[in-house]
Point group: C2
Chain length 310, copies 2
């Protein structure tokens, strides 16, 4: 089948096949992405992040169901940078979404590290474009964990929802520092647990010291009981309006596109290095010299660079 | 003072200054690292990783105290890829180590994302070399979290200790997949808690399916009560012997050195792009074209690459 034609016709299988093609860098994937890029840019991307155990999947599930009531077309990309599995992994999580996966208006995809030669962040970006052209109006990008690669992935989102839970204890100290910059909407999930108000107060205090132009709101929720869901959707919509009104929406897309081009150039250059037998042999010899302390790695890099022709 | 001379004399302040110099890429940092590289390669590097709340800091603390009884010189690098703070952060954790920081035979350093222009993994690698030449016999690299960047950091270690706790619940599913490959020694900390045996059984079962040549051992510990510490040290030593006997120690250092050279080349190339006004202007123009869908990012990358001279 002509995948691009089928993708435009809202064919789920075509979307899934194209994502797999990009993940594996199968022949023709770049040509396909070139065409897809020109048709993309319409979907709104919501990032869902937070520490393990915060209930991100359940929250995503409920947010999606709420948006489905309004007839919106949805895609969910669940990204796990720690998992080598792809296309159907994070099984425990996704099983919970079983009823969603039966809904023709929802596309669900898991992505792990396997087969992402160009990096998980690049594959996620490509999957977003594919699902955009497929016709998803909202694309949820859910990550496991709060490490640096998760931050990279969440950078693809227009609005990022940071999901926390009461009683993170000492860990909140470590998490706090990293999350302030990337959260646009904060959710304290499992807010029926002890300590929810204290966690809220802690986050509000951090926000007092933040330099963000728009102060993120902090929402209480019990996703499993569907509590607080409508309010979170409202906050996402408010953030979207803010981005559009202040032209930040456009500005952010400019910044992420610039990063995208730079990543592509990096990839090209690495291909040049690793697809060239002569350079490979020189790299091996220089590596040996560096390990034996005959030369330092910076000088080795200089020497190697002299032989690379772009 | 002549930092390199002082470093060789086991001067703590010189070591701290050199690490800061590298983090900030201050003038001369590369020259310093060139000299340091040639003197390095003697320390044994132990990675400590695992999910937040697993008690990694406490465990590191106890392992270090045990090695200090044997008179070993120790360095601890605590890396937090989610924290923008550097040189003294992860306060809550490090305060617990206060008695250690009064020990002249222990060097402690926290590293966050701030000021790591070349990437946290590169800075960690450099800090290891500096502390190696400083005279640390064991360097502990402790990370927060289990994301992809933590995996990158742990790759710098000769032996990696994966710290888990009972009752991770559903999260263990997500964690499991990612940890199998990087753990050389598994520790179930807080093993006096309910469910420790079940967690051990789960991990052993995963290890049954692992392709590792040397099956990692799974140790029970209650770090806070100093239980299981000697056994973990034994396992680290056994793994070290295994690496040396099978020549994997040398092989692993070859592999990590090769990666190091490739990273350095990538950095050089990026410098070329971003320190050239003409290329920067072209990147800005192309970014605009890509955002407006006049051109796709791959073609933009191609066009830009043509103007880069190495």
């Amino acid at each position: 089948m002509d995948l691009l034609q089928e993708l435009k016709k809202h064919n789920k299988r075509a979307a899934a096949k194209l994502i797999t093609m990009v993940e594996n860098r199968n022949p023709g994937y770049q040509e396909a992405l070139k065409d897809i890029h020109k048709l993309s840019g319409n979907a709104y991307v919501v990032g869902i992040t937070g520490p393990p155990g915060a209930g991100k999947s359940t929250l995503t599930d409920k947010l999606v169901k709420e948006l489905r009531k309004k007839g919106k077309q949805i895609a969910i990309i669940a990204v796990d940078p720690t998992s080598p599995f792809t296309g159907g992994s994070i099984l425990g999580d996704r099983i919970r979404m079983n009823d969603l996966s039966l809904d023709a208006g929802v596309f669900i995809r898991s992505m792990g590290t396997r087969g992402h030669l160009g990096g998980l962040s690049e594959s996620t970006k490509a999957a977003i474009k594919i699902l955009d052209v497929y016709g998803a109006e909202y694309i949820f990008v859910e990550t496991v964990g709060v490490g640096q690669s998760e931050v990279e992935i969440v950078k693809n989102a227009d609005t990022t929802v940071m999901v926390l839970v009461p009683g993170l204890g000492d860990d909140i100290q470590a998490i706090k520092a990293g999350i302030m910059e990337i959260g646009d909407v904060f959710v304290i999930n499992k807010a029926d647990r002890e300590g929810a108000n204290r966690t809220k107060a802690e986050i509000e205090m951090m926000l007092d010291f933040s330099n963000k132009e728009k102060r993120p709101s902090v929402q209480m929720a019990v996703a499993v009981d569907n509590k607080g869901i409508i309010e979170i959707i409202d906050e996402i919509e408010k953030h979207k309006e803010y981005l559009i009104d202040t032209n930040k929406f456009h500005h952010n897309r400019i910044e992420s596109t610039k990063e995208e081009i730079v990543e592509i150039i990096k990839g090209y250059i690495l291909d040049k290095i690793f697809n060239n037998q002569h350079i490979n042999e020189e790299l091996n010899q220089l590596t040996k010299d560096v390990v034996e302390r005959n030369v330092d790695p910076y000088t080795a890099g200089d020497l190697l660079l002299k032989n690379i022709k772009l």
